[in-house]
Amino acid sequence: MSKKIWVHAELSDGKITNVTFELLSKALDLAKEMGDGAEVEATLIGTGLDGEAGRLAEFGAKKIYAADDPRLKLYSPVTYAPILADLASTHSPEIYVFGATAAGSALGPTVAARLKTGIAAHCVDLQLNGEKKLKALVPSFGGKVIGEILCPGKIPQMASVKPGIFVKKEPALAPKAVEKVDLRTYAKLLDAKALEPVSAVRRPPSGLPLNEAQVVICGGFGVGSQENWNRLEELARLLGGAAAATRPAVDEGWTGEHTMVGTSGQSIRPKVYIGFGISGATHHICGMNESGVIVSVNRDEEAAIFQVSDFRVVGDGSVILSALLNAVKAEME
């Protein structure tokens, strides 16, 4: 039997998340490298899944295991994990990957614990070693150190990967093959009351999602004030891009945590990244170092951010920000 690489497909408001497609793209590469007809398959849980299952097939999933029930509309570790663990026990995928999202970061290790297998968290790359076993690259100490994690004796070899690490490729078009999971054996679980999800409240997206922006204007503590922050956001808007932040800027209250880039925030790879008043702590850098061109402005010429920058400006962030804002406005007239 050919080996399987599984991707767990996550839904957000009933739609497949982008990280799922990123993972499918990577899984297809790994399957090719694994050879012997290795195939990519997906798991999907929710309600009214027919349309979204088709999307997974479009991106190369040869088979989709779908657990479809109104009681599964909202994510819960209590219901989702047993279903996924049982599927993995039955079908024995070689590799099983999850998005390291808010839900996936909890669901992945929960499934792994049920299977008594290993899971590498928040990987920055997935490779195969000489024996075609999964070699996951995992950051620690805020990204300062990268370690290889192997899971030599157990399957599935599991991993979670944050959104924005892998590149979503063009559709790979597999025929839609959906296998509905028989949920009768889970009746008790689905009606259990010990832990019930009540609602998922999502902010309507304000502007472009950070990891889809071609230009990201990022600010750190050195931006200095809310007033400057507003100008930074204005600049991002004028350029058709998105504004992002480091942890200290979020802590100052200038912006929300959803704009944070780094190990505990998002990973981004825009064509152009411009950073203002960012010192360049490793845990920020490892969320943005895949950017095409990096421009940094900092008062301190020794700032670590300059080490990873293509263009360095030693100067007052707020002054350069104003000048750039004026220049962009002038260009637009």
């Binding site: 957000s12 819960s76 570790p77 808010a102 839900a103 970061s105 909890a106 992945g108 290790p109 929960t110 614990a113 008594k116 297998t117 290993g118 968290a121 928040h122 070699k135 950051p139 100490f141 300062k144 150190v145 990268i146 370690g147 290889e148 192997l150 899971c151 030599p152 009351k193 832990l195 999800p197 009540v198 609602s199 998922a200 409240v201 999502r202 902010r203 997206p205 071609q214 004028l238 058709g240 959803h258 064509k271 152009v272 490793t282 061109v293 940094s296 080490q307 990873v308 920058s309 293509d310 263009f311 360095r312 400006v313 100067g315 350069i320 000048a323 750039l324 004026n326 220049a327 260009e331």
Partner: protein, 276 residues
Amino acid sequence: MEYNVAVCVKPVPDPKHYDKVTIDPVRKTITREGIPTLLNPVDKNALEAALLLREKHSGSVTAVSMAPPNAAEILREALAIGADEAYLLSDRAFGGADTLATSYTLFHGLKKIEALRGGKPFDLVLCGCESADGATAQVSSQLGEWLGWPHLWNVFSLEETGEKAFSIKTKLENGHMEWNAKLPLVLGVARELNKPRFTSVMGIMKAKNKPLTVWGREDLPDAQDTYLGLKGSPTQPGEIFTPDMKRSGEVLRGTPEEIAARVVSVLRANGVAIGG
């Protein structure tokens, strides 16, 4: 009504110094010399949540850590902040554990503490949602599975709605989820949950007389070797390296206006449309 809460804590190297972390090129080990050890920052939020429950009702707060012997210091700190008792699970046999083995060891530690109390179970187990160093964020979920309890991660709101019943909010990328939950539970808490109290001098004095128990392998006879330490860990570490992310940067000089003009041309050169 009383709440008996266990709080799992971890010693971590101070995150402010992670830029100093290096790798010994010969032994392939991480060198963290000169970096002070702290109680993992978000574990203080877990401890705070436990203390608030005990203060509102009654009960106990137990701090538990699986770590090398010097972790006694951070457990002493947890006692100074307000925990009633502390347990350190420390043995070479536990070393090198991945998250599955770590959570297994903590699970057996908790079971043994419960047994010592005449089988009275914990109502709630709290963890910080992630550690500053490894940041796998997996232990709370996996501990929940070993215990066979429901569990939630990234909890930023915890409100009592009835006897041992809570309304809980967890973070999503672009919002949050709301849950109704009954104890027992394992929760991985986020730093937004509360504001941890400071350690008082009185607290430090009191901590000296609070019990801090160290248990080794033989103190957890029900634990199986197959799930302990490096040997019992399904994941195994391979090579470690420091990523080379250096770029040869060009310094832009001139007046702010000149620099701005250069940045505009960089944007254009990389396909960013300005002004249509």
